[in-house]
Symmetry: C2
Subunit: 402 residues, 2 copies
């Protein structure tokens, strides 16, 4: 098996040029090596996904003994998001879809009803406890988070003591290009919070926050800043597999509305543990006007509560796909206090088709309007999606620290 794999990998690229689509794929990888055969017959590489010049995409899987093969992708907005794939006479299934809009998508194959990843695509994203194969369709709309040949910031996985949660926990920290080379410049900080079902990995793997900032910094559109991406689940040390507790995934509601009751413990730990850690370990500006906070969904709820209970801490506040389920007198009074502190930005973004957060965002906007609290409201098409959250980060970041 090892030798077969080696041969096939060694000759794969070369022969691929003349025979881009070969039958006989995954099946053979698990078989024992047979007697030597010519190299051309030993090639097993299936190209999937293949992005065509017009952004149509061909997906392929070799599954000669499977009865039905379908694909489900994040670009499918219909109620039953799947497309059947067609089998050729060798057992290679394929479908060409699109042209697809330029976007970063997840997709899965469905083999006789079982949802699996694309075996030919090494690129995967994990969203909580679910994985999907990924596809970046290039173009104008996905350009702001594409990886480019420009200076890149450093992405670090940093462990810190949370005294308030009594845990050693992990966060991701983005430091902009130049941070490590220079020893004098002080930077502003954006605290960026994920949603329910997510963890400290989400804003980079799914949100591509580091590449969004690299690109905006390179274009001179944002002030270079540090981004801190903590784990918002108060009882978790870190993402699945990097946690010292046994790796039994805790199942959480992926699309829970922001108003689901939470204990406030993460919010407390951000203020008591995370901000002090950052301000004692990084070259950062330590005043309110150089601190921003934003979060999506559950993280939007975190952001709202943190800033209402600590109105002197952040001058820039972003609420993505969250809001206020119930506008109580207490909430109104808290916003009055926050308004009196004159934050420089209260940025609210929501998709018009977001069943979880649209009404809450409207409630929040109505309250802010009533209080004559200056805010920005950004409506986008679509729903409770990373496509929207990437846009919100890219639009809010340029307004920060100005």
């Amino acid at each position: 098996m090892k030798k077969l794999k080696w041969f096939s990998m060694l000759f794969g690229t070369v022969v691929l040029l003349s025979l881009p689509i070969i039958s006989e794929g995954q099946d053979n990888q698990a078989r024992q090596p047979q007697a030597p055969v010519p190299a051309r017959q030993m090639v097993r590489r299936i190209v999937s996904p293949e992005i065509l010049p017009d952004n149509k995409v061909t997906f392929r899987i070799y599954a000669p003994h499977t009865t039905s093969v379908a694909i489900s992708g994040e670009w499918m907005n219909n109620a039953a998001p799947r497309e059947n794939m067609a089998r050729n006479d060798t057992g290679l299934w394929s479908v060409t879809l699109g042209p697809l809009p330029a976007e970063f998508y997840g997709y899965n194959f469905i083999l006789d009803g079982v949802t699996v990843l694309d075996p030919s695509n090494a690129q995967i994203k994990r969203d909580g406890v679910r994985n999907a194969s990924v596809l970046l369709v290039p173009g104008k709309e996905s350009d702001f988070y594409a990886v480019k040949d420009i200076p890149h910031g450093t992405l670090s996985k940093v462990w810190y003591e949370s005294l308030s949660l009594n845990l050693t926990r992990r966060m991701y920290i983005y430091t902009p290009p130049g941070y490590e080379s220079d020893t004098k410049t002080m930077y502003p900080v954006l605290y960026l919070l994920h949603g329910g079902g997510g963890d400290e990995d989400a804003w980079t793997t799914l949100g591509r926050a580091h590449y969004i900032l690299d690109n905006l910094i390179s274009l001179g559109k944002v002030k270079p800043m540090i981004i801190v991406m903590p784990n918002g689940n108060a009882n978790q040390t870190s993402a699945l597999g990097d946690s010292p507790v046994l790796p039994v995934p805790e199942v959480r509601p992926a699309n829970a509305p922001a108003a689901v009751p939470v204990t406030g413990r993460f919010e407390e730990s951000l203020v008591k543990d995370i901000v002090p850690y950052i301000e004692s370990h990084y070259r950062v500006l330590k005043d309110k006007n150089n601190r921003a906070i934003a979060g999506l969904s559950m993280g939007g709820g975190h952001t709202q509560r943190i800033t209402l209970t600590n109105p002197d801490l952040f001058a820039y506040i972003g609420i993505f796909s969250a809001g206020a389920r119930n506008v109580t007198d207490e909430l109104e009074n808290q916003f009055k206090v926050l308004k009196s502190k004159n934050p420089k930005l209260y940025w609210v973004g929501c998709g018009v088709s977001d069943p979880l957060a649209y009404q809450g965002s409207q409630n929040l906007a109505a309250l802010l309007k009533k209080l004559e609290f200056k805010y920005s409201f950004r409506e986008t098409p679509g729903g409770h999606t990373w496509a929207n959250w990437r846009i919100y980060l890219s639009e809010m970041a340029p307004v920060l620290f100005k």
Copy 2:
């Protein structure tokens, strides 16, 4: 679909306690929501893998319309590494294997001949262009790289300019616990190189180098050190998906012997670009006695060539599962020069069942013996595997910088 997912995730954990194995799994995830049904019937969570108290492991997949289901795992050493799974009358397939030795394993399911990941297991490792589901069987033998509730170092993804390769490239850097808190301590550095088919991600995702060091540091068995893990493929900027070139995976021989011809360009760039970058950006000790280098397979070849052509640079040298295919006069002369520089450690490790490197390691050892060049030779059971490379790192690190 979104709502169904949310309900099932919300109620999953609770009901799971009474009904750990439920039929109807992945199939339903792609269906449209039906009329509301009681919560117990909406639970779809399959537990796989389930590690039993005696380290037997049960694997499960719900695949009612699949004709044959098998599993292939890295613990299987026979020629045809797969075990069939059995179907129950609901369409849930399962098999209980082991007890398995304590180890970090990859495995795949094979559905009617198609190799896929375990859909119920969110944890994945990528080895070059291939993914596998992962399983950490706890016990004495895997304890040295388990994640523990101890201080953890920082793992950073750092981009640097390689003038010799004319690329902006990425490397991973481990800084030990305390590095960021203290501003005075200077650290020694280990440069740690991956093998063919790998990239800068390999030594952490597959080798668990950061957790090995965390554990050894916590036990006081090693001197706290910085570990630098570059990308050893001279024409690559970074791992798949994080590279500004289009994401067409370059296929490389995963198990290529170390003696496959290479150009020496990566070796040159390590000396000219990477070492100077580290020594100008990190608090490191900049003398030979505080520099170590080790690599596996292709990276063992890199290590050998770098240290032979720069005999004054590193006092500690590790060659894992590599060696000398041909012992030429030139090689012998180079080793004579290196010997004259009195390196403190020349550490050679190889698996006795490694068809790719065992003879080369023997050739190298014979040459060193002939030259009366002091070296360590560590033979382990098994082959060209990460199980061995994790052991070699854990055994070499305590000998460094003493």
